[in-house]
Amino acid sequence: MLKSMDKYLAAAALSAKNYLAYTSEVIFRSGFLVVILFVFVNLWTVTYSRSGAGVIGGFDLKQMLWYLVFTESIVISRPRVHQKVEEDIRTGAVSYTLARPYNYLLFQLSVSFGERMVRFISTLMVGYAVMSVMIGPYLPGLSALPFLMVTVALAMLADLIGMITVGFLAFWVEDVSPFFLVYSRLQMLLGGMIIPITLFPPFLRRLSEWLPFRFMVYAPAKLFVDCDITQVWSLMAEQIFICILLFFIGMSVYRMGVKRLDVNGG
């Protein structure tokens, strides 16, 4: 098992190395984050001061702003893996990978994961620096760091499997962007990217709890600002379950798609 995973770890590491060549894009994306964070700082400062409440939805102002740094870093770091998969299917390139000794979904997952880690770390560093200047630095407990790293990795894996599965729809449709738009908007809204799900009205919160998106965005960001070790194990177990479930859904879609594979060119 470990031996067979070796190739995927190597692909993730190589992808991270490859992505370091795109430093200018990382800086540009991070520049966009500065604007977003400036808006958030002003918005939430006004909200907290007007409401007079020290804590909203379980977050004080500082936690809320650091929560948003984390959720934005997770979402902005998302690579366009659905487009890569779509292109592979449209051009027939996916068929050539069939004759290679690896699982296409796992390989794309590894490559996109490597890329995303570089993007996430660089974005978080910029976000951390900007927010530290604006409201002062924040240090999560050292004991929480290993859990945080695992949770972030699982969150990203679940999201990437979801994106790859959306890309697999290209076996049936010419353009997967409408599907990705729905996927990404649901994730932004119900995953807690803009507002923590604890602030949602009850029906929306229940809906969010039934969907996998909160494990991709809300859960690791919440852990970043409020590490509750008692709940972290169950959270990781749930994330692993979501990853496995999404993987099986993704593989089923892929297998159905490959059966009707129409290789372009001849």
């Binding site: 190597a10 060549a21 069939l98 004759a99 290679r100 000794p101 690896y102 594979l261 290789v263 001849g266």
Partner: protein, 312 residues
């Protein structure tokens, strides 16, 4: 409204065998079924009827197992990482094919020497020329020491020097390392230099399966005679079946129809009647033979048989 379904048979009634260590060319016009054939042999596609055995295995059923013993290079699809040096791709492929680290190091050393990659092994792929990239591409395909190498248009877009180098390396691999090569190419020069056998496909069917030397022999209708006369020459008294195709000063190029006239007799006659400085007899290019096969309405085999009888 109803969607109509149209079934197109990409390849049909195709049957052939390739002995280990041979080099086979699949040729044919666009849409003839060459790439489909390669995809079938690699296990990428499954035939709707019939059976395929590659190294004793059904390629579609045992695709993962077979992947460790075969390799493919598709001219327009790269497996090199664009921003990284080729060495990184080689190392990754070593892990993908579960190659032991010591073995991988040894294998890479061999390939670097064979393909002369040492001067650009650590340069990002984006900085390499097309020829250098293709050498790396083929080296990458050989990292797991495959028994069969499938190449789909490997020299597409390469200049003459790069193409020649790639073909020389492939020929060495085939002749010395006994790697079986199955190649598709539109370049008849590549085919002639590399392959011993040829299958000509058209509209999904095999129109000719032959040894290249045999094909040349059986499909010759003509020979080209180039004569350089010493000084002025009178109008040539040409026998039937011989025509002038080019004239440039003292050099005249003749085409001899072998069904009508013997080339040696034509040469003797010209030499007897004129003062000749130099004379050469050439075969027409392979390309024209292949073009003739594509365009011929008659079954190629029968025509080849007829020509063989004429030659005999």
């Amino acid at each position: 409204m109803r969607r109509e379904r149209q079934v197109i048979e990409a390849v049909k009634d195709v049957s052939f065998k390739v002995e280990p260590g041979r080099a086979l060319a699949l040729i044919g016009p666009n849409g003839a079924g060459k790439s489909t054939m390669i995809k079938l042999l690699c296990g990428i596609l499954s035939p709707t009827q019939g059976s395929i055995r590659v190294l004793g295995m059904d390629p579609f059923k045992y695709r993962s197992k077979l992947a460790y013993h075969i390799s493919s290079v598709f001219g327009q699809r790269s497996q090199l990482w664009y921003h990284l040096p080729p060495i990184d791709t080689f190392l990754l492929l070593g892990r993908i094919y579960d190659i032991d680290r010591v073995e991988l190091k040894k294998r890479m050393k061999e390939l670097v020497e064979l393909f002369d990659l040492s001067s650009f092994l650590y340069q990002p792929v984006r900085k390499l020329s097309l020829g250098q990239r293709m050498r790396c591409e083929i080296a990458a395909a050989l990292i797991h020491n495959p028994k069969i190498l499938f190449l789909d248009e490997p020299t597409i877009g390469l200049d003459v020097v790069a193409r020649s180098m790639v073909i020389d390396i492939l020929r060495d691999l085939n002749r010395q390392k006994k790697v079986t090569i199955i190649l598709t190419s539109h370049d008849t020069g590549d085919i002639e230099r590399l392959c011993e056998d040829v299958i000509v496909l058209n509209e999904g069917r095999i129109v000719l399966e032959s040894n290249i030397r045999e094909m040349r022999k059986n499909f010759f209708h003509t020979k080209i005679i180039e004569i350089e006369f010493a000084g002025q020459h009178a109008d040539l008294d040409l026998p039937p079946g011989v025509s002038v195709i080019e004239r440039s000063g003292p050099v005249v190029k003749l085409e001899v129809n072998l069904k009508v006239q013997d080339a040696n007799e034509v040469v003797s006659r010209i030499v007897a009647q004129n003062s000749v400085r130099d004379i050469t007899i050439q075969d027409p290019p392979l390309e024209s033979i292949i073009q003739h096969i594509y365009l011929s309405g008659d079954p190629a085999g029968r025509e080849a048989e007829q020509n063989a009888q004429i030659d005999g």
